[in-house]
Symmetry: C2
Subunit: 343 residues, 2 copies
């Protein structure tokens, strides 16, 4: 399925692929958000979430996509908010979002727990009420949602294509550099490894009369490299590695840390990701002299985080079930705090 | 982008690609639904909606997709329900659904119009109420939703991959054949023209170290042919043709009618599809002797349906805006009724 190595560096990528039209507007709003929370001394986490698309046509009908409903990102964002972070939630259009995620149209549709009450007192309009059994759960979610809105601690950004994602990530990380070590990056989005350069896209819908479809895609530049080295030198950076083959998980997570020199890779298997993850990081040295050259395999530590597979058969409220993101965020909060204090 | 013609017929497709595990269960429930409405003499429409995926791996991380939020299908399903049809709504997981479509998490999130009212009368739990300005709209949507649930006129089926879609379509259309001419097919889903045969899929996530990604896909068999000729000989069949190049729209819609011999192709342009569609059908003959051989270009008629582009700037309720699907469904309802009466 593969041909020879291609050569898009981050630099040549941004020089050749056009930015999304809303970029400047988005960046201005993010800048205000960061400035406000920086003034208040709050830590800010960028949570990326959901899959990116790779359009095959300029007038896009078909695209390559990465599997992700955005559960990891949306859930984690909620726990970061509870932990006192200001959250920039950069997510794929229509992927799950914090709070509303509890009421997916498919699994827990909100229209199902609203009731129409005929007016008893002669008023004209019937009242809409919440089914009693759902009231407590909704009240809890709604209270958190209102609180976050009132305090202005959540800022939402939307992407669709891998181009949108890369341009936004670069711009937001550059804006976050003013936060110094109080910036965290929680890169949970499922970003395509491949893309179709705009210069090779067909203008119109690819026609199907002519036989087999062949698509040839280039590698997306390894964006963690300039993120770590240039855009946000002091940010605490957490990346994710999703695999379906267990044998590849740890080696590939270590390779990513070696290659990019950031703080944590969270490895997860596609089928066990809701109950088990592994944090891969460098061992903390007594001396502060750790350099890239020190990182042989003995220099890494693995920290496994597991929860029991929840039993949801007994009608437990969906949002009362233990979620592994609660523990992931708690662990990262500790590590981030310790890392800030070591500045 | 294309190589030589491949040869998956519908027959060879179903013989070589495995059915989805839930197929039998889904079919049994659909059978009951159809039987009940057939007994009550009701017309039944199958509405397909949303895009299909083409997984690239058996443990799927990446997939090809077709652009569709499911607006056309979800909106039309609502108008078919209003028109008295029983509706089998076969849609892509997480695509828009009738009624809840008015409250997308992104554009009109329902948490935004719920309010928490502190108890005035000393009761312990605060009440949840609907923001007054949103109450009337919600009441209208909620009333329709409850009514449809109470009458049992909506049955929902879910697909993700193009395989799921094809297996379900075959099974459901076969079940619908007992309805005779009272069956309508409204095939609004954006179905992939290409697929990757299971036999050529890689087991695990495709690794990106090795350079460019090359994908070669086979054509999906033209499923309208057996649908018309074998599975549901008397069904009234409406297919859709979406193009981005205007010059192709009419010729391709006509070619589809000639090829498959069904009743209507609705052509729409990607960018104008919310305001303009064209119905392509055979001209009605005074004699009933129309055969495939009669269908030269002079035998087709075009019926253009247009609505004014709505002005939503004045804060009009989203679901009070005129939707073209209302007119599409009204026109099809008339044609279907006339076609039933000519049996």
């Amino acid at each position: 399925m593969f041909t020879e190595e291609t050569t898009f560096s981050a630099e040549s990528y941004f020089a050749s692929q056009p930015p999304p039209p809303t970029l400047q507007h988005d960046v201005e709003r993010v800048r205000e958000f960061i400035k406000r929370h920086n003034n208040e001394g709050r830590s800010v986490v960028l949570v990326t979430s959901g899959g990116t698309t790779v359009p095959l046509e300029l007038n896009v009908v078909r695209f390559l996509d990465n599997f992700s409903a955005g559960t990891r990102g949306a859930t984690s964002a909620e726990y970061f908010l509870k932990a006192g972070y200001a959250v920039i939630f950069m997510h794929r259009q229509f992927s799950l979002q914090p709070f509303s995620r509890h009421y997916s149209h498919s699994t827990n549709p909100f229209l199902d727990f609203l009731e129409i009450e005929s007016p008893a007192d002669g008023s004209k309009t019937p009242a809409i009420t919440v089914t009693p059994s759902k009231r407590e759960d909704l009240l809890e979610v709604l209270s958190m949602y209102k609180d976050v809105h009132n305090r202005g601690t959540l800022h939402t950004l939307t992407f669709v294509t891998v181009d949108d994602y890369l341009w936004l990530l670069r711009a937001v990380s550059q804006e976050m550099s003013i936060l110094g070590r109080r910036a965290m990056f929680y890169l949970a989005a499922a970003v395509s490894d491949f893309f179709l350069p705009r210069q090779r896209m067909s203008e119109h819908k690819i026609q199907s009369e002519k036989g087999r479809l062949q698509i040839e895609m280039d590698q997306v530049p390894k964006i963690l490299k300039p993120l770590v080295d240039e855009w946000t030198k002091e940010g605490y950076i957490v990346s994710f590695k999703l695999e379906t083959d267990d044998n590849l998980l740890i080696p590939k997570a270590r390779a990513a840390l070696e290659r990019y020199g950031h703080q944590v890779v969270i490895g997860n298997d596609l089928h066990r990701r809701k109950y088990e993850v592994v944090f891969i990081s460098r061992k903390e040295k007594t001396s502060e002299s750790t350099t890239t050259a020190d990182m042989n395999s003995g220099d890494f530590q693995e920290y496994w985080l597991r929860i029991a597979i929840p039993d949801t058969s007994g009608g437990v409220s969906p949002h009362k079930v233990k979620e592994i993101e609660e523990d992931i965020v708690a662990e990262l909060g500790k590590r981030h705090a310790s890392w800030i204090s070591r500045a």
